[in-house]
Amino acid sequence: MAAGPAPARPTSARPMSAVRRALASLGYAVGLPVLLVVAWALATRGTTNLYYPPPSRVLTAFVSTWLSPDTLVRDVLPSLGRFAVGVLLSIVIGVVVGTAIGATPWLRALLEPMLEFFRAIPPVVLVPVLMLLLGIDDTMKLAVIVSGSVWPVLLNTIEGVRGTDPVLVDTSRSYRVRGLLAYRYVVLPAASPQIMAGVRLALSIGLILMVISEMFASSSGLGYQIVYFQRQYMVAEMWSGILLLGLVGVAVAAVFQLVERRVLHWYHGSREVARA
């Protein structure tokens, strides 16, 4: 083996200082949005287009509508509250029931076709059914959210529990790790990547159903308000409502990301190592 000088490692091109890098990221992050908003402002300047108000009006409408304590208390908070409770309920039901079903093969075989069928039903279609059965109060709205968001959690939990690595199962059995301890330290963590994927879906479905349940027979809530604005041709307010829903969606996604990264840090870590 010739022992020549070791080949030179390629040096990184033009090392950017941390500040420049941060600025570049910021630039990319806000560049296009700012451009779009400016373009919108210019396009709507001076026109009296009914459907597309200038961004400034949308912003003022946003502040006056949604940030007033009145609307906050009457519409925004109850809506978000129902959303949160509904999704939480879905998660609890989905995980508990899903674990039981996932761990019992015959039960799984028994229920799988029905569960697949229920999941295939567009959640919105259950709104009229639930309206018939439960009337049009808060319980019904909560039921609507749960009826749609429970499925991804439930089905993903079943899948996650079922797919626990057999080597891990054998290990746990051989060390006599059983019962609740096994559930907490083996089954649940092993299934958690799948469960989190289900939770993510549950969040988006829950948000949609929160809005829909209020667009129907309801007299308050985010969804109701947006429809009200549309019917009353209060266009800027309507846009502000859509903007708010977008912000809520983004916020929910961001919070989920944070939680997921924390809960599944081991999963991401091990996959990164495996990929390297």
Binding site: Y28, A29, V30, G31, L32, P33, L36, Y51, A103, T104, P105, W106, A109, L110, L111, E112, P113, M114, E116, F117, F118, R119, A120, I121, P122, P123, V124, V125, L126, V127, P128, V129, M131, L132, L133, A197, S204, L207, I208, V211, I212, M215, G223, I226, V227, F229, Q230, Y233, V235, M238, W239, G241, I242, L245, G246, G249, V250, V252, A253
Partner: protein, 296 residues
């Protein structure tokens, strides 16, 4: 009892060993009650059918016991019979046709737009970075939030519904295309380049096969979402279709008709799932690596 041999220097000196008794397949005590004994394939199908039957039976009993006002919860038998009747009604088939057309149109537009946009943006790193924040803001906006806007602009029409039907599936496929295009193995790409393949050829021979599984999976997910949104739009906006029929029956109130159509939507959803999975399997059958869904 047990023979332990010792080797006595170089030389084979072995004796064969302990206890080899005529071992045939011993049908001795098979320990029963093992944890998690899975039913065999035939058993699974039987259990599944049992589950469906059990559901129908439970429904029938609960409705018969009149736990809820029968006007709001008809029996399973009534609903099933009504379903059969509906299948004979032309208005059912016209509604179904409307739904399918809206769904297909919306899905088609979404997929084409997403593939084009995703490919262009995915292949140009600058565009990717520049659009990232915008995409991440627009993506989580629930389609239904756009309903009032769509209605305002386009009225209570199929066009308004199409806006809704296109929105969410577009993002679904778009993201998948981005991932697919971004997943191109740089080694493969460099190899292609060193062989003198031009941009277009590389697109066809390197990018496309890599991205295809992602796109197909995205298509499958988008198909389901599009169906859900089609029916949602029909329910909320009121353009012709199964969704609108459901609303009509709800306000009548015509409970058996409502429940029957709910079953129909479930079956429709299953059908779409089945068909898209078959398509996926068929198209990706030739593909050596089948990627998993559930990215992001």
């Amino acid at each position: 009892m047990q023979q332990i041999d010792t080797v006595t220097g170089p030389g084979p000196g072995d004796v064969a060993p302990g206890a080899r008794s005529g071992a045939g397949a011993r049908a001795g005590g098979r320990a029963g009650g093992r944890r998690g004994v899975a039913p065999r394939a035939g058993g699974t199908a039987v259990l599944g059918t049992l589950g469906v039957a059990g559901f129908a039976l439970t429904w029938e009993l609960v409705a018969w016991a009149e736990v809820v006002n029968p006007a709001y919860l008809p029996r399973f038998s009534t609903t099933a019979a009504r379903l059969v009747t509906e299948l004979g009604e032309p208005r059912f088939w016209s509604a179904l046709g409307d739904t399918v057309v809206t769904w297909a149109l919306g899905l088609g537009i979404a997929v084409v737009a997403a593939v084009v946009a995703g490919a262009v943006i995915g292949l140009v790193p600058f565009l990717r970075r520049a659009t990232h924040s915008t995409v991440e803001f627009l993506r989580p906006i629930p389609s239904v939030a756009i309903i009032p806007l769509a209605v305002l602009v386009a009225g209570l029409s199929r066009e308004a519904a199409l806006v809704i039907v296109v929105y969410a599936p577009f993002w679904q496929v778009f993201i998948q295309v981005l991932y697919g295009v971004g997943d191109v193995d740089t080694v493969a790409d460099d190899t292609a380049r060193s062989f003198g393949l031009g941009r277009l050829q590389r697109l066809r021979h390197v990018v496309l096969p890599t991205a295809l599984p992602y796109v197909i999976t995205g298509f499958r997910l988008a198909a389901s979402i599009a169906l859900v949104l089609t029916i949602t739009a029909e329910l909320v906006i009121g353009n012709p279709g199964i969704g609108r029929q459901i609303d009509v029956y709800r306000s009548a109130p015509d409970a058996p008709g409502l429940y029957a159509l709910v079953l129909v939507t479930g079956l429709l959803g299953l059908l779409v799932n089945l068909v898209t999975r078959l398509v996926e399997r068929r198209v990706l059958h030739w593909h050596p690596s089948v990627r998993r869904e559930g990215v992001a």
